[in-house]
C-alpha cells in the first residue's frame, strides 16, 4: 500500500500527482474464498479489513451491488456518539467510538473524525428526566456524558435559541467525545486498507441467491458475476437486509423505511458542535466544507425508493428554523434519501443466524454510521470465531422470541 502523508503529497506534487496507484484493485471474483461479506458499505468493508488484519483471513471478498459506500454509508449525517441508555448499547457504541479515535492512523486514511461534541436537547420535564437518566447511566458505564443548563448549552452553541420558542430548551446532555466524520472516506479508507491485505473488493456484483449445502449450511452466493463459494458468509447490507437474508431462508424482524438528510449551501464556519433534538426532530452540524448538515425523520411507510416525502424534510427544517432562527435565510442545496432497516426495539442485530456459516449485521435503523468500525470489528470477530464477541452477544435475532429486547426507543419515547 502506498503510504499517504503530507510528504508523499508534496513529493508527487512535483511530478503532477502522477504515480498514485488505485486505492483498491478492481478485483475479479474468484471461485472460492474463506469468507464473503455481502455489502460494500463501511460496515462490510470494515468487517473484511478486520477479518484480514485481526483474524488472519485474507482470502476474503466483499461483494457490492453498486459502488462501495453508495448505500447508507454515503447518505447519512455522519453523527458519531455512544451515549446510549442501556449497558449493552453503550458498550456497543462506545466500542465503536474507541475505534474511531485511531481509525485515520490505523487505515492511513484521514476519515476526519472530529470530536466536536454532540449536544442532545431536552425541551420538556420528561425530556429532562430521560436525558439525565442517560447521563447517569452513561457515567456509570464509563461513557462520557454531561448535563448542561440551557445557558451552558447556548454558550457552547451560540446560535441556539433556548427561550421564547414553542418548546424552550430546558437543558442538554453533552458528549464531548461525540462528533462527526467524513462518510465516504470511511468506505474508501477501509477498502484501501483491506485491499492492501489481500481482500477482493468486487463492485457491480449483485447477490441473487445464497446457497446452502446438504447439511443446511451456507456455502456459496450466486451473483450477477457467477457463483462464489465460501464456508462463511457475512451479510451487512443495510437497506436490503430482509431481501438478502430471505435468500437463505432467514426471516428478520425488520422493516425498511426512507430516511432523508439535507445540506445547506456552504457558509463560513458558524456551528461548533452537533446538536440533536429528539423531541422536535432536528439534527444538525456543519461539515468541514461549510454546509449545514441536517437530518430528517423517517417516512411512515416502508419503501425501497431512497426517497422520502416533502413534508418530512419540511418538518426537519421547521425544527431547525425554530431552534436556530439565524439559519432561516440559508438555503437547502441538496436533499437525499436512504433506506434504513429498523428492528422492533431499534437496536441492531450482529449475530450468528439459524443457518450455519451465515452471519448478519443489520437493523441499525437511523444510527448505523456511528457504529461503523465497531460493528465491522464485531462482525469480523463473530465470523472468525463462529461465536459472538461479548459486546455483541446480546444483539441476537432470538432476543425477540425470548423477550430480551434492548429497547432504546421505548426507553425514551413514552410521554405522560
Amino acid at each position: 500500500m502506498q503510504r499517504f502523508s503530507g510528504l508523499s503529497l508534496i513529493r508527487r506534487g512535483l511530478t503532477g500527482q502522477r504515480g498514485w496507484q488505485p486505492q483498491w484493485r478492481q478485483a475479479e471474483p474468484k471461485a472460492a474464498y474463506d469468507a464473503i461479506i455481502v455489502g460494500g458499505g463501511g460496515h462490510g468493508l470494515g468487517a473484511a479489513f478486520y477479518l484480514a488484519k485481526e483474524h488472519g483471513l485474507t482470502r476474503v471478498a466483499v461483494l457490492e451491488k453498486g459502488w462501495i459506500g453508495g448505500g447508507n454509508t454515503g447518505r447519512n449525517t455522519t453523527i458519531i456518539r455512544s451515549n446510549y441508555l442501556f449497558d449493552e448499547s453503550a458498550a456497543l457504541y462506545d466500542h465503536s467510538v474507541q475505534l474511531w479515535e485511531s481509525l485515520s492512523q490505523v487505515l492511513n486514511y484521514n476519515v476526519m473524525f472530529s470530536q466536536r461534541g454532540v449536544m442532545m436537547l431536552a425541551h420538556t420535564v420528561h425530556d429532562v428526566q430521560v436525558s439525565q437518566r442517560h447521563v447517569h447511566a452513561n457515567r456509570a458505564n464509563g461513557v462520557d456524558n454531561e448535563w448542561l443548563t440551557p445557558e451552558e448549552a447556548r454558550a457552547r452553541c451560540p446560535l441556539l435559541k433556548i427561550d421564547d420558542i414553542r418548546y424552550p430548551v430546558l437543558g442538554a446532555a453533552f458528549q464531548r467525545r461525540g462528533g462527526t466524520a467524513r462518510h465516504d472516506a470511511v468506505a474508501w479508507g477501509f477498502a484501501r486498507a483491506a485491499d492492501a491485505l489481500g481482500v477482493d473488493i468486487i463492485e457491480n456484483c449483485e447477490v441473487l441467491g445464497i446457497e446452502r449445502d446438504a447439511g443446511g449450511a451456507a456455502c456459496a452466493v450466486n451473483t450477477t458475476r457467477g457463483v462464489i463459494r465460501a464456508p462463511k458468509i457475512g451479510v451487512s447490507a443495510a437497506g436490503h437486509s430482509s431481501v438478502i437474508m430471505r435468500m437463505a431462508g432467514v426471516d428478520l424482524p425488520i422493516e425498511s423505511y426512507p430516511l432523508q438528510a439535507l445540506v445547506s449551501e456552504p457558509v463560513k464556519s458558524i456551528f461548533p458542535c452537533v446538536v440533536m433534538s429528539n423531541t422536535i426532530h432536528a439534527y444538525i452540524s456543519q461539515s468541514d466544507k461549510g454546509e449545514m448538515v441536517i437530518g430528517a425523520g423517517t417516512d411512515a411507510y416502508t419503501s425501497y425508493t431512497q426517497r422520502g416525502g416533502l413534508h418530512i424534510s419540511r418538518h426537519a427544517l421547521e425544527a431547525i428554523c425554530e431552534l436556530f432562527p439565524t439559519l432561516r435565510r440559508l438555503r437547502m442545496l441538496r436533499c437525499w434519501g436512504g433506506i434504513v432497516d429498523v428492528t422492533p426495539d431499534r437496536s441492531p442485530i450482529i449475530a450468528k443466524t439459524p443457518v450455519p456459516g451465515l452471519y448478519v449485521n443489520c437493523g441499525w435503523g437511523t444510527g448505523g454510521f456511528k457504529a461503523t468500525p465497531g460493528a465491522a470489528h464485531l462482525l469480523a470477530w463473530t465470523i472468525a470465531h463462529d461465536a459472538p464477541h461479548p459486546i455483541n452477544a446480546p444483539f441476537t435475532i432470538e432476543r425477540f422470541r425470548d423477550g430480551n429486547l434492548i429497547d432504546e426507543a421505548a426507553a425514551a419515547a413514552v410521554a405522560h
Partner: protein, 1000 residues
C-alpha cells in the same frame, strides 16, 4: 458612473429608470430590469468573485440559474443578510448592496489566492492523505484551519425577521417553464378547458425568447410572445407564477414551487412574506424546463471575461450590455454563431471564431463568413492570459485526427465566448424517476418515460429551435389536458428531434501532448479541473458517483448544471468507455437552492405546534401559574405565590391537600367513551383487568399493555351503564390509546358492537382532593349523595353541580379523600371558580402537576412514562394484582409468558430512602449494589421519581431495581458528585399504606 458597455438602444431594460447600487462598497448604477450581473457588466465589472479552493479571480459565466462564479452576499440590514446569491438572478433594485465572497482583504487582492500556488500539492482529495500526524492535531490544528478557510458567504448573525408562507394548490395541468414550449403548452391546455398553473423562475415570461433581438423578426416571435402572454395573464383558468422555481418533483405528481415575493423590491413591506412555498398536486405536468449551455474545457477557461456564448447574447439582447469590445467565440455548434453575429452587429469586434469541428458549413457559419468574421475551423484553445480579466487566447490548429498541430497563435481579446452545445434540463424529469437515455447525435441525455403523469416539451427534450419548441409545447399542453380528462379536439403532432442540432462531445478540448500548461476547469465553483478527474480515475474511482464525491465535481451550489456532462465526458474517455456506460449521477431536489425559512413557513413560535389549553387555563394564567409542556398541552406545574420558589410552592400545595383541600385541573387526561352491547367484551380483551364484574357506578384502575406485554397506558375506568364505559388515559396517551382501540375494533374484532368516542375535550375535569373535599363540595352539588356510603372510593355517580350536569368520580391520585368532577367543558371554568370560592373557608389551594407528582409518589402510584419506560411489565411495576388471571386472553397476556418476562432478575418497582433524609436523589440516577463500585460498572437499576416529601419530612424516591422486591431492607448505592450515597430499599408506598384517608 457611466455605463461604458451599455448599447445605445435595445434590450428589455427601462432606460428611463436609473437604479443605484453598490458592489463591495463601490457605487454603481444600472437600469430597471437589470440583474446585478448585467448591471456589473454594463459598468465593465467582470471580476465578481473568488473560487472555493484556489481563490481564483472569477467573472460572470452565465446569465441564469446555472451560474457557478458570480455568487454574492446581499445585505439589506443587519439581519437581512443572504449569502451565496447568484448575481445572474438577483434583480437590481434601488440601494441594493452586494458584496463579493470568499476573499480577504479584497476581491482584487485576495490572500487566499496563495492556494493557487500550492495547487500542485493539494489536488482532489488531498485531505484524505494527510493531516493525520500527530493524531490529536487534526482536532486542534488542521481541522480548525480547514474550517476557517471553507465556506463561501457568511450566514446572518441575527434572527431572520422576515416571514414565509405556504400554499397548497391543485390543478389539471402544471406547466414548468415559460419559454416558447411552456407558454404554448399552458395556452393549449387552458384552451382545452384545463385549470393551469404556469410557473417561471424568471421575473418575465418568455424564456429564451427574451434573449432574442426585439422584435424577433424571423419568426414573428415577438408578436406571438406578447399575444400569448396577454392571453395567459387574463385567462380565467390560468394562474401565472413568475419568480417561481419548481424545485422538486415528489411522488404522485406533487411539485414544490418556490415563489420569491419581495426579493426584487427596494423597500419591501416588512409585513409581506418574503417567499411562498407552494405544494401543487397536478393531474398532469408539462416540463418545459429548457436547456443549459455547456461550457468548454480548455486550459485557463476560468478567467473573468470568459463566458457562455448564449449568456453574452442575453446580456446584449435582453439587457443592452456588451460584455466586451473584442470577442473570441469558441464553439462546437452552429447555434453559438448567433452570439458572434449579434455582438458584431452591436459594434463589438469579433476577433475570431474558433470552431473545434473540422467544418462549419451551416447557415449561421456562412452568415458569419459573409459578415467578415474570421472563422477558424478544426482549431482548439490551448491557453488564455489575463489575471483579473482575460487578455488573450491561444489557439492551435487540429490535424485530421483531431490532434493539435503547427504553431500556436495568440489572439488578443477582452471577451471569450464558449459553447459546447446545450444540455437539456432534465432535473425535474429525473426527480420524477423518469428514465433518461443518451442521444449520440445531440450528445445529451434526453427524457424517456416517467412513472408520473408527466411529459416534456421543448429544449428539455432536445427540441431546441424556438419555433419547434413552440409547436412541441402546443402539442404537449393539449395532450396533458386530454390526459387530465378534458375533451380535447385534434392535437397537432409534436415536432421531430432535429439531430443536426448536435453538439461537441463533452470533455476537454484537444490539447498538445504532455502536461497542459494551465488548469482546465470543469467545475468552476469547486475548482475541479480535468486533471483532478484524471487523478480520481487513476486512483481507482471508477463509478461516476465516486469521482463526484472524491473530487467534489458537481457538488457546488450550482449542483453541476454546467459541469456534470463535461466531467462525465472526461471520466468516460479516461476509462475508455462510452458516456452512457459510465452513467449519470442522481438528480436531487432542489433544482436550485431553496430558503430554509420557506420550508418552515408559518410553522414558528406558537404555530410551530398547536397549543392545547384546558377550560381552566386562563384562570391559571391569572393566578401566575408556571406551565409545563406535556405533549401539545400546557399544564400548570405550580402556582407560586409572592415570588415563591418551586420548592416552596409545591410544599405549600402538598400541605394544603394533606391538611385541607387542593384543587387540580385534570382536564388533560384522555377520555374515551366505550359504548355498545359488546363494550364489556371489548374492555376484557383490551385491558389486563377483568371488567365483567365491575358494577355500574363503580370504577377500576385499568392497565393497557401492548401485545408485547409492556405497559402502554393506564387510567381509571368507570362503568356508567351496562353497555357504557368512561375510560381515562394518560395525558400523552389519549390519542394513541384511541388509535389502538380503533385498530383492534376495526381490523381484529370486527364482530363486536362497540363505538368509541374521544371525549377528552368534552369534559373539564376538576379534582378536589383532601380531607375537606366533601365539605367543599357539599354546598355545590345537587342530585348526588357525597357520603362515603353512597359514593365510596372508586365509584361514580351522575348529578349536577352549580346547576350543571356532571359525572362525579370518587377517586384519588393523592391518597386523600378525593373527587373528580367532570362537567361539560364550556362550564369548566365557572364550576372551577365556584369550587375555589366554596373552598376558601377550608384553605383550598390550586395545585399543579409537580405537587400532584409528589402526592402520588408518597402513595407509590406510578406515572406511565416516568416510572415505566416501555420495558416494564405490570408485575415489574408491582401491579400484578391488576391482571385478570382468569381471563383467557387480553392484549399482552401471551407475551408475558416469554422467558425473559418471567425472569426473577427483572427490574421491579421499589421505594428508596436515602440515608440522609434531606438528600433528594436525582431522577435517573443509577443504582449500584456495592459502595465501592466505580465506573465502568453495570448498574442494577435507576431512580424513576424522586422528591422531597414535606408530609413525611424527608426525601423519597421510586426506583426500578433488579429483583427489587427481594431486596427489601437492603442498602444499595447511588453514585453522586461526592461519592456513592447509601439508600435503603423499602416499599414504594410511603404514606397511609392502608388507604384509610382515601376511603374516608
Amino acid at each position: 458612473m457611466s455605463h461604458a458597455l451599455r448599447t445605445a438602444s435595445g434590450g428589455r431594460i427601462n432606460r428611463s429608470r436609473t437604479v443605484r447600487f453598490t458592489f463591495d462598497g463601490r457605487e454603481l448604477s444600472g437600469f430597471e430590469g437589470d440583474t446585478l450581473a448585467s448591471a456589473l457588466l454594463a459598468n465593465g465589472v467582470h471580476l465578481v468573485g473568488r473560487s472555493f479552493k484556489y481563490h481564483r479571480p472569477r467573472g460572470v459565466l452565465s446569465a441564469g440559474p446555472e451560474e457557478p462564479n458570480a455568487l454574492v452576499q446581499i445585505r439589506r440590514d443587519a439581519a437581512r443578510v443572504t449569502p451565496n446569491l447568484r448575481a445572474t438572478e438577483v434583480e437590481l433594485y434601488e440601494g441594493l448592496a452586494a458584496q463579493s465572497q470568499n476573499r480577504w482583504p479584497s476581491l482584487q487582492l485576495d490572500v487566499g489566492a496563495v492556494n493557487s500556488l500550492l495547487s500542485p500539492f493539494i489536488p482532489a482529495g488531498f485531505y484524505y492523505k494527510t493531516f493525520m500526524w500527530p493524531r490529536r492535531a487534526w482536532q486542534w490544528l488542521y481541522e480548525p484551519r480547514i474550517r476557517a478557510a471553507a465556506g463561501l458567504g457568511r450566514a446572518p448573525a441575527q434572527p431572520d425577521p422576515d416571514s414565509y408562507c405556504n400554499r397548497f394548490a391543485h390543478c389539471d395541468v402544471l406547466v414548468v417553464g415559460a419559454g416558447p414550449a411552456g407558454l404554448a403548452a399552458a395556452h393549449a391546455a387552458a384552451e382545452s378547458g384545463a385549470r393551469v398553473i404556469l410557473c417561471e423562475e424568471q421575473p418575465q415570461l418568455g424564456g429564451s425568447l427574451l434573449s432574442e433581438q426585439e422584435p424577433g423578426e424571423a419568426l414573428g416571435e415577438g408578436e406571438w410572445l406578447a399575444r400569448t402572454i396577454q392571453g395567459l395573464m387574463t385567462h380565467p383558468r390560468v394562474t401565472v407564477l413568475t419568480r417561481t422555481t419548481a424545485f422538486g418533483y415528489f411522488p404522485h405528481n406533487l411539485l414544490g414551487l418556490e415563489q420569491r415575493l419581495t426579493e426584487h423590491l427596494a423597500q419591501p413591506d416588512p409585513r409581506q412574506p418574503r417567499e411562498r412555498q407552494w405544494q401543487v398536486r397536478a393531474r398532469q405536468v408539462v416540463l418545459a424546463t429548457g436547456a443549459i449551455e455547456r461550457p468548454l474545457v480548455f486550459p485557463g477557461n476560468d478567467r473573468p471575461g470568459i463566458m457562455l456564448a448564449g449568456a453574452a447574447r442575453s446580456y446584449l439582447n435582453r439587457y443592452g450590455v456588451l460584455a466586451g469590445r473584442r470577442a473570441v467565440l469558441v464553439t462546437a455548434s452552429d447555434e453559438a454563431y448567433r452570439s458572434a453575429l449579434d455582438l458584431h452587429r452591436a459594434g463589438a469586434t469579433v476577433a475570431a471564431i474558433i470552431d473545434v469541428r473540422p467544418q462549419a458549413s451551416g447557415e449561421l457559419a456562412e452568415a458569419a463568413r459573409r459578415a467578415g468574421l474570421p472563422v477558424h475551423t478544426a482549431t482548439t484553445v490551448i491557453g488564455t492570459s489575463g489575471r483579473l480579466r482575460v487578455k488573450s487566447i491561444r489557439i492551435q490548429k487540429l490535424d485530421a485526427q483531431g490532434r493539435p498541430e503547427a504553431a500556436a497563435e495568440r489572439i488578443v481579446c477582452d471577451l471569450v465566448l464558449m459553447s459546447g452545445g446545450h444540455t437539456p434540463s432534465v432535473h425535474l424529469f429525473s426527480q420524477s424517476r423518469g428514465t433518461l437515455h443518451w442521444n449520440e447525435a445531440l450528445q445529451a441525455f434526453l427524457p424517456g418515460q416517467s412513472p408520473e403523469k408527466a411529459r416534456c416539451a421543448g429544449a428539455c427534450r432536445g427540441i431546441f429551435s424556438a419555433d419547434a419548441a413552440r409547436r412541441d409545447g402546443q402539442s404537449a399542453g393539449a395532450l396533458a389536458a386530454r390526459d387530465a380528462g378534458l375533451a380535447v379536439g385534434t392535437v397537432i403532432s409534436a415536432p421531430r428531434l432535429l439531430e443536426t442540432d448536435g453538439a461537441a462531445a463533452p470533455g476537454q478540448l484537444p490539447q498538445p501532448a504532455g502536461r497542459p500548461a494551465a488548469k482546465a476547469f470543469v467545475d468552476w465553483q469547486n475548482d475541479v479541473t480535468s486533471r483532478d478527474l484524471s487523478l480520481a480515475a487513476r486512483e481507482g474511482f471508477r463509478s461516476i458517483e465516486h469521482v463526484k464525491r472524491y473530487t467534489t465535481t458537481g457538488m457546488a451550489t450550482d449542483q453541476g448544471k454546467t459541469s456534470n456532462l463535461n466531467a462525465l465526458g472526461i471520466v468516460a474517455r479516461q476509462m475508455g468507455k462510452a458516456i452512457p456506460e459510465v452513467g449519470l449521477t442522481t438528480f436531487r431536489m432542489p433544482y436550485t437552492p431553496v430558503t430554509f425559512g420557506s420550508f418552515a413557513g408559518y410553522s414558528r413560535g406558537e404555530l410551530f405546534d398547536p397549543v392545547r389549553t384546558t377550560p381552566i387555563h386562563d384562570w391559571a394564567v391569572r393566578k401566575a401559574a408556571v406551565f409545563e409542556d406535556v405533549g401539545l398541552w400546557k399544564r400548570a406545574r405550580y402556582f407560586p405565590r409572592n415570588g415563591e420558589s418551586m420548592h416552596a410552592a409545591v410544599t405549600r400545595e402538598c400541605r394544603a391537600v394533606r391538611s385541607g383541600c387542593g384543587l387540580f385541573d385534570a382536564s388533560t387526561l384522555g377520555k374515551i367513551e366505550v359504548v355498545g352491547k359488546d363494550a364489556v367484551t371489548f374492555m376484557n380483551r383490551l385491558y389486563t383487568n377483568g371488567w365483567t364484574s365491575l358494577a355500574v357506578g363503580r370504577c377500576r384502575y385499568g392497565i393497557l399493555l401492548r401485545d408485547d406485554g409492556f405497559i402502554y397506558d393506564d387510567g381509571i375506568v368507570a362503568r356508567i351503564a351496562e353497555d357504557r364505559f368512561h375510560v381515562t388515559t394518560t395525558t400523552g396517551g389519549a390519542a394513541r390509546v384511541l388509535a389502538m382501540m380503533e385498530d383492534y375494533l376495526q381490523t381484529e374484532w370486527r364482530d363486536l358492537g362497540v363505538w368509541l368516542t374521544s371525549t377528552t375535550e368534552q369534559w373539564a375535569v376538576i379534582a378536589v382532593q383532601g380531607p375537606s373535599a366533601r365539605h367543599v363540595l357539599e354546598g355545590l352539588v345537587q342530585d348526588a349523595d357525597l357520603s362515603a356510603a353512597a359514593l365510596p372510593h372508586m365509584s361514580v355517580a351522575p348529578g349536577r353541580i352549580c346547576g350543571v350536569p356532571m359525572r362525579l368520580f370518587r377517586v384519588s391520585f393523592t391518597g386523600e379523600l378525593g373527587f373528580e368532577i367532570n362537567v361539560p367543558a364550556d362550564f369548566g371554568s365557572a364550576v372551577w371558580e365556584a369550587v375555589y370560592e366554596a373552598g376558601q373557608p377550608h384553605g383550598i389551594a390550586p395545585y399543579g402537576t409537580e405537587a400532584m407528582h409528589v402526592l402520588r409518589a408518597e402513595k407509590g402510584y406510578i406515572i406511565v412514562g416516568q416510572d415505566t419506560d416501555g420495558t416494564v411489565t405490570p408485575d415489574d411495576a408491582g401491579l400484578a394484582w391488576a391482571i385478570g388471571t382468569r381471563k383467557p386472553d387480553f392484549l399482552g397476556k401471551r407475551a408475558l409468558e416469554r422467558p425473559a418476562m418471567r425472569s426473577p432478575d427483572r427490574k421491579q418497582l421499589v421505594g428508596l430512602l436515602s440515608a440522609e433524609p434531606h438528600v433528594v436523589l436525582e431522577e435517573g440516577a443509577q443504582i449500584l449494589p456495592d459502595a465501592r463500585a466505580t465506573p465502568p460498572t453495570r448498574p442494577i437499576g435507576h431512580v424513576t421519581s424522586s422528591y422531597y416529601s414535606a408530609t413525611l419530612g424527608r426525601s423519597i424516591a421510586l426506583a426500578l431495581v433488579r429483583a427489587g422486591r427481594k431486596r427489601m431492607g437492603q442498602t444499595l448505592y447511588v453514585p453522586a458528585a461526592n461519592g456513592n450515597l447509601p439508600v435503603q430499599v423499602v416499599s414504594p408506598v410511603f404514606y397511609d399504606p392502608k388507604g384509610s384517608r382515601q376511603n374516608a
